[in-house]
């Protein structure tokens, strides 16, 4: 039975990275991801890989666990690698029939594959070490300047956390309705796509009705507990910067500086 939804799978451990303020982790991850687009040199990638390994080591997430995030993009990775390998113009090294492998193609394949891999790994380090609740709280605080433009930041964060609570419940409910309808002779398997979609109706309809009823109940329960929007709300676990958060900021800047120096002064 599915009882917990984890976005990008949270890995439970005690580490400095886990204890970092979620805002630092979100901003740090963004900076890291953007930094990957700023250079075209192998030395830069070496620096980025070293930094990733350093953070991974600190986070105590096993290496094998962290690379799981690559699984869903594996096919895409192979595909882009092939495209770049065979369709880049330049100095021809090898010819197989109509296909040419060029020197530039090999470099480009390596760059782009590494960039994709590091993008995914960098993002997954954040989701592996931050609980969904912390992520939501961090986003709410980071986006709060948008409130000036009347963006419903608090409401969106509240919706996200409610979704986190109710997705497993609705998945369970889907299974229950599915079994109930199958017991009455519903067929969700056979036929072409159109027929399958049509057969989904007896599943989707009761699910929607139930979701709306739940939403209604929850709204009433929130009302009863004095919920009146984000105004004047306090938190049990407010976010505040600690010593390690400031250290983390410095380490991020050090990384950027080191990256600049390697790319600037190393030949490749």
């Amino acid at each position: 039975m599915i009882r917990d939804i984890t976005i990008g799978q949270y890995y439970t451990a005690e580490s400095v990275i886990h204890r970092l303020d979620p805002r630092i982790k979100i901003v740090g991850t963004l900076i890291y991801m953007i930094s990957l687009f700023l250079f075209h040199k192998m030395s830069g990638y070496a620096a980025a890989i070293l930094f990733f390994l350093f953070v991974l080591f600190l986070s105590r997430v096993p290496f094998s666990f962290s690379v799981r995030g690559l699984r869903p993009i594996f096919l895409m990775l192979i595909f882009t690698a092939f495209l770049n390998l065979f369709w880049t113009e330049g100095e021809v090294l090898l010819r197989i029939g109509a296909l040419e492998i060029t020197k530039e193609g090999i470099w480009k394949m390596a760059y782009i594959s590494l960039r994709l891999i590091l993008l995914i790994l960098g993002a997954s380090i954040m989701t592996l070490t931050t609980t969904p609740n912390d992520l939501t709280a961090g986003m709410e605080r980071l986006l709060s300047p948008l409130k000036i433009f009347h963006a419903p930041v608090h409401e969106i964060a509240m919706m996200m956390s409610i979704a986190l609570r109710f997705i497993p419940i609705l998945i369970e409910e889907t299974n229950r309705i599915m079994k109930a309808q199958m017991a009455r002779g519903a067929d969700f398997e056979s036929g072409n796509i159109l027929r399958k979609l049509k057969n989904m109706l007896p599943l989707v309809l009761p699910l929607f009705v139930s979701a709306l009823r739940r939403a209604n109940d929850l709204a009433q329960a929130m009302d009863a507990r004095c919920y009146h929007g984000g105004k004047g709300r306090t938190r049990m676990y407010p976010l505040y910067f600690k010593g390690i958060d400031i250290v983390a900021c410095f380490i991020c800047m050090l990384y950027l500086a080191a990256l600049y120096l390697t790319v600037r002064f190393l030949p490749i």
Binding site: I169, A224, M236, Y237
Partner: protein, 289 residues
């Protein structure tokens, strides 16, 4: 606006109507769910409201914490009128509600953060919230589960978390709106025991809305609803003494009382005002001694 001192909760000629509409939005039918209810509850009392499905007991309950406002009549909670916008937050802080479906009333996916939801809304300082959450969870015996997701808890445990959430708001009153009807017998028993203990030890006013007779035998006062009106009221013993009227309200006697009555009808000299199994046991021992 402090009026009507003394009574914690008081309704005067409370009427609630809602209209059923057809697809074009025209009113096809007006239903009077609550029809002229006058009742009052003293602070620290344990009140039970009984009634069959559709008797209006749930609609009545939602007036006590201003989730609904009266079509006619007035409701005072702690001297504050529920139909005045500025009183609503204070009223809901004073009278917490546990709802029927345990899943649909927990907001957060961590138990302790859910308990903190009420105080957070009230703007209680962080330190105080943590203290209240700890105390709330401890007093319903759920402190060990504070880091768990509600999805891992049983129905009874979820309802206990909901009660902890109300305690953390420092409400003086807990309204249980059929809060036990979706629970198994064990869960039901544990919730009733918790609530009784909170009533005895912390003098928290309890308003129990239910259709299970066995839950109301410990109440100080029972109101039986029928078609939106209070058909019967009094102590449990007074109310259950009126078997015929109860039957009219489609309310059945507690199990022990039913057995006692059957025994009496079959010629056994038992008392007919028995309410609990324990009383029945003692009575039978007395007869056979």
């Amino acid at each position: 606006m402090k009026e009507k001192k003394g009574a914690f909760l008081r309704t005067e000629g409370l009427v609630h109507e809602y209209s059923r509409r057809d697809e074009e939005g025209n009113v096809t039918e007006i239903i009077r769910a609550v029809d002229g209810v006058d009742l009052s509850v003293e602070p620290g009392e344990f009140i039970a409201v009984l009634g069959a499905n559709g008797s209006g007991k749930s609609t009545l309950a939602k007036h006590f914490n201003a989730l609904l406002t009266p079509t006619d009549g007035v409701v005072y909670l702690d001297g504050k009128r529920t139909d005045q916008e500025e009183n609503v937050l204070a009223i809901r802080q004073l009278a917490g509600m546990v709802f029927q479906n345990p899943d649909n009333q927990l907001v957060s996916n961590v138990v302790e953060e859910d308990v903190a939801f009420g105080p957070e809304n009230l703007g209680v300082p962080t330190k105080e919230i943590r203290k209240r959450v700890k105390e709330g969870l401890e007093s319903v015996g759920m402190y060990a589960y504070r880091k768990k997701s509600p999805n891992h808890l049983s129905g009874g445990q979820k309802q206990r978390v909901a009660i902890a959430g109300i305690l953390a708001m420092q409400s003086g009153c807990i309204i249980l709106d059929e809060a036990t009807s979706m629970l198994d017998p064990m869960g039901r028993k544990s919730i009733i025991e918790q609530v009784l203990r909170l009533n005895k030890e912390k003098k928290i006013t309890i308003i129990l809305i239910t259709h299970h007779m066995d839950e109301v035998v410990h109440a100080d006062k029972v109101f039986v609803m029928k078609k939106g009106k209070v058909a019967l009221s009094g102590t449990p013993r007074q109310v259950f003494g009126q078997a015929e009227l109860l039957e009219e309200c489609k309310v059945t006697l507690p199990e022990a009382a039913q057995i006692a009555e059957e025994l009496y009808e079959h010629g056994m000299p038992v008392r007919t005002d028995i309410l609990t199994m324990q009383e029945l046991e003692e009575e039978l021992e007395r007869i056979f001694a």
